[in-house]
């Protein structure tokens, strides 16, 4: 473990297994998990806290703005119908699709690696958008494209420039860029349908 070898360097560590997502940092200007990277002690490396977030001390950053973006997308399950007495049925194929997004540990590595976040602090960022898409494709919600409207603006889906850094740095292989692409297609289709409906009247 790289970080544990550095005495008196304040950082958050909880599990040490890339499960809880508390420790991320940058090495050579690239967001990386702080625990698995092999390190030759003879080699000099530059270790820095995650960018775009205020530093509290050493490698500890204030995650508040990241979680503000998370809260902005209303990250809570909104069932489409009253609770049944048992479980709502879901089919394995749909679950497999959803499980691309549920592994997110909200570690903010994608947020830190995103060039759009760097340019525009108001951009929701990859993690929040991937979370929003996770609720959109949950068949138990049944809200349709309405769910996507929360981020139908330049600070949301339309801010992404598809650098795909988010997918590359994600320790859990979540593909926010894919979610963003699908959401844009769906919104475009919806608007096109609305327009043609409007023209027909």
């Amino acid at each position: 473990m790289l970080i544990n070898r550095v005495p008196r360097l304040a950082c958050r560590t909880q599990l040490g297994a890339l499960i809880a997502g508390s420790l991320y940092l940058t090495l050579s200007d690239y967001a990386l998990p702080g625990l698995t990277e092999p390190w030759d002690p003879a080699e000099e490396v530059i270790v820095e806290p995650l960018p775009h977030l205020p530093v509290i001390k050493d490698l500890i950053v204030d995650m508040e703005t990241f979680f503000e973006d998370y809260r902005a997308i209303s990250p809570v399950f909104k069932p489409g119908n009253p609770d049944p007495s048992k479980e709502r049925l879901m089919f394995p194929l749909v679950v497999r699709e959803l499980e691309q997004y549920t592994p997110c540990i909200l570690c903010a590595a994608c947020y830190a690696a995103c060039p759009v976040n760097r340019k525009n602090p108001r951009y929701l960022g990859p993690a929040a958008l991937a979370k929003l898409y996770r609720f959109r494709i949950d068949p138990r919600e049944n809200q349709g494209a309405e769910r996507l409207m929360t981020a139908d603006n330049p600070e949301g889906w339309w801010g992404c420039e598809f650098h795909t850094n988010c997918r590359r740095v994600c320790p859990k292989d979540v593909p926010p860029d894919k979610a963003i692409g699908h959401a844009r297609q769906e919104l475009s289709r919806m608007k096109k349908d609305q327009n043609s409906l409007g023209e027909g009247q």
Binding site: R8, A10, C11, R12, T13, Q14, L15, G16, A17, L18, I19, A20, G21, S22, T36, I56, K57, D58, I60, M63, R71, S74, P75, V76, F77, P79, D83, S85, K86, E87, R88, L89, M90, F91, P92, V95, R96, L98, E99, T102, P103, I105, L106, D138, R140
Partner: protein
């Protein structure tokens, strides 16, 4: 020194894991003011690391011969797994509530793995007669915790993140609040409250090889016993059979539930000799002992381990059902379980003992409640079954919250002035710690304590060795009095947090040691080479650890039996 920061709520929940968040939701929905205090962001709580699943007799997958599951059968497996030390009324409560609790989480949005018919999938687990463990691939705790955090966020329940609880406030034999250090600023805050719910998890980090998060240091147990609430069955510590060699990272029991087998250097499936019927899916205490015995007999691999082989499951099934453990094996051992066996060894995993509470979560100190791993109801007795821990967190998070909702109307509001005094007292203590110079450094003391616990209170225990271990714990504790910290800052001083945690760990370590010495029998996870048999005549009781004048003494209280009479435990 500035004016103390005082925040008054009716109920304070200490701990932001599954138990704490479930309880907070319930209490908040009842219109009672409450807040969660957590020493880490709630999503970094150790609950997030639970892999395998949550037991409930949904009966979605038929059992052997097409038989159907029931909560009674779940209760039987749990009681047998506990080596008959669990309180059967508590087990009945938990198992009856299990199915409704899984559905409740599903209704809140948890994504569970599914069967082809769309129902929640269930897999076999150790010590269970049915495929009863509901799961979300191999990150069940993660999916559950994110769901509950989403609900808590939506309910706008205040969460004091990275607040480390430093003391409980008591007056006239009642708990009336707590103090907590805001880690990032160094400010001590006071939280006067009518009730405190402790939901702080286990104490695995007092051992050197543990699957637990670094944060699991027994804070809640120590705060409770110092405030006057006894602990129970602290000697029962679970060692998980399969942790990754080198890092002690958990390799879920789900790997064996899906069909994985354990092999020694001869390539033998050795569990056939230890548990002829259940084989690799015997309970954890049985499998952990078997692995240790294989290694001791010279049939282990280099580094003191055996192999867990899941290759025969095939790449597709491994990718679908066990993606997380595959990733962990690749990241931390450089091994792809699709093509190679995983080197595993037992490591500390769970604390069966904890704050002595009844089914309603009431501790021995009025005003203090506890639930989840930090508590001991007891539903796990001398050995917990895999999949029963996640179940316990959410079931008792809700049941204890209901008890608090019932009780809170009759409790008078706490006096704010007491909280202010407690804050001042804690400030002085911290100034004293930071002001100390010279002396010994913290980390060697911490490491030696962990090594002592693993060497003397591990899987196999023996009287003389444990006596030596207890002496060593006490020596280390006196050395601890001379520890001074290199970091003197108040802002984000994580060394100070490690110091305060170590102070807590000594109390827990001593409670484990005294309980283990007192129990002259072998039962469940507690295996004594000098007393190899279970002794129901003398030890079918709970061990209660009480503190008076800083001294811990052990008393005995009877086990609540009921549906199932104690029998010989064979698998």
């Amino acid at each position: 020194m500035s004016q103390p920061a005082i925040h008054e709520y009716d109920a304070i929940i200490i701990g932001g894991g599954l138990t704490g968040l479930r309880a907070a939701l319930q209490i908040s929905h009842a219109g009672i003011s409450c807040a969660v205090l957590s020493k880490v962001h709630p999503l970094r709580s150790h609950s997030v690391a639970a892999q395998g699943g949550m037991n409930a007799s949904l009966g979605n997958v038929p059992g052997p011969g097409g038989a159907s599951d029931s909560w009674e059968l779940h209760a039987y497996d749990t009681v047998k797994g506990s080596d008959y030390l669990a309180d059967q009324d508590a087990v009945v409560s938990m198992c009856r509530e299990a199915a409704a609790t899984v559905f409740e989480l599903e209704h809140m949005g948890t994504v569970w793995s599914r069967l082809d018919d769309g129902k929640i999938a269930q897999r076999p687990f150790g010590g269970a007669g049915f495929p009863r463990t509901c799961y979300a691939t191999d990150r069940t705790g993660h999916n559950m915790l994110h769901t509950l955090y989403e609900q808590v966020t939506n309910a706008k329940i205040p969460v004091y993140e990275e607040f480390f609880v430093t003391s409980l406030i008591t007056v006239s034999g009642r708990c009336t609040g707590c103090t907590a250090l805001e880690i990032m600023t160094g400010t001590v805050h006071g939280f006067p409250a009518k009730v405190i719910l402790m939901a702080t998890g286990g104490f695995g980090r007092i051992f050197s090889r543990s699957t637990n998060a670094l944060i699991n240091t027994g804070d809640g147990q120590t705060l409770a016993i110092h405030a006057g609430a006894p602990l129970k069955d602290m000697e029962f510590v679970q060692f998980h059979p399969t942790t990754l060699v080198g890092t002690s990272i958990l390799i879920s029991e789900a790997a064996r539930g899906e069909g994985g087998i354990l092999l020694n250097t001869s390539g033998e499936q050795f569990m056939a000799r230890y548990a002829p019927r259940s084989l690799d899916l015997a309970p954890r205490d049985v499998v952990a002992r078997a692995i240790e015995q294989e290694i001791a007999a010279g049939r282990g691999f280099e580094g003191g381990c055996v192999h867990l082989d899941i290759r025969h499951l095939g790449a597709d099934r491994i990718r679908e059902r066990l993606p997380g453990i595959r990733q962990l094996a690749m990241d931390f051992a450089g091994i792809d379980p699709i093509t190679e066996s995983i080197p595993v060894q037992p490591g500390q995993h769970y604390s069966m003992g904890g704050i002595d509470v009844g089914i309603d979560g009431k501790s021995g100190l009025p005003g203090l409640y506890a639930a989840g791993e930090c508590a001991c109801v007891s539903v796990h007795g001398a050995n917990r079954l895999g999949g029963n821990s996640l179940l316990e967190t959410v079931v008792f998070g809700r049941l204890v919250a209901d008890a608090i909702i019932r009780d809170i109307g009759s409790i008078p509001p706490p006096a704010e002035v007491l909280a202010e005094a407690a804050v001042q007292e804690m400030n002085l203590k911290i100034i004293g710690i930071l002001g100390r110079t010279g002396g010994v450094s913290l980390f060697p003391v911490l490491e030696t304590l962990k090594e002592t616990m693993s060497a003397h209170f591990g899987i196999f225990r023996e009287g003389t060795s444990m006596e030596q271990g207890l002496v060593r714990i006490r020596e280390l504790r006196s050395q601890f009095g001379n520890v001074s910290l290199s970091d003197k800052e108040t802002l984000a001083n994580l060394t100070l947090i490690r110091y305060l945690e170590l102070e807590y760990m000594f109390t827990v370590a001593e409670a484990v040691a005294l309980g283990a010495l007192d129990r002259k029998e072998s039962r469940g996870s507690h295996t004594r080479t000098d007393y190899p048999d279970r002794d129901d005549n003398n030890f079918l009781h709970h061990s209660i650890a009480r503190m008076e004048n800083e001294q811990i003494t052990i008393l005995h209280v009877p086990v609540t039996l009921g549906m199932f009479d104690p029998q010989e435990r064979v698998y």
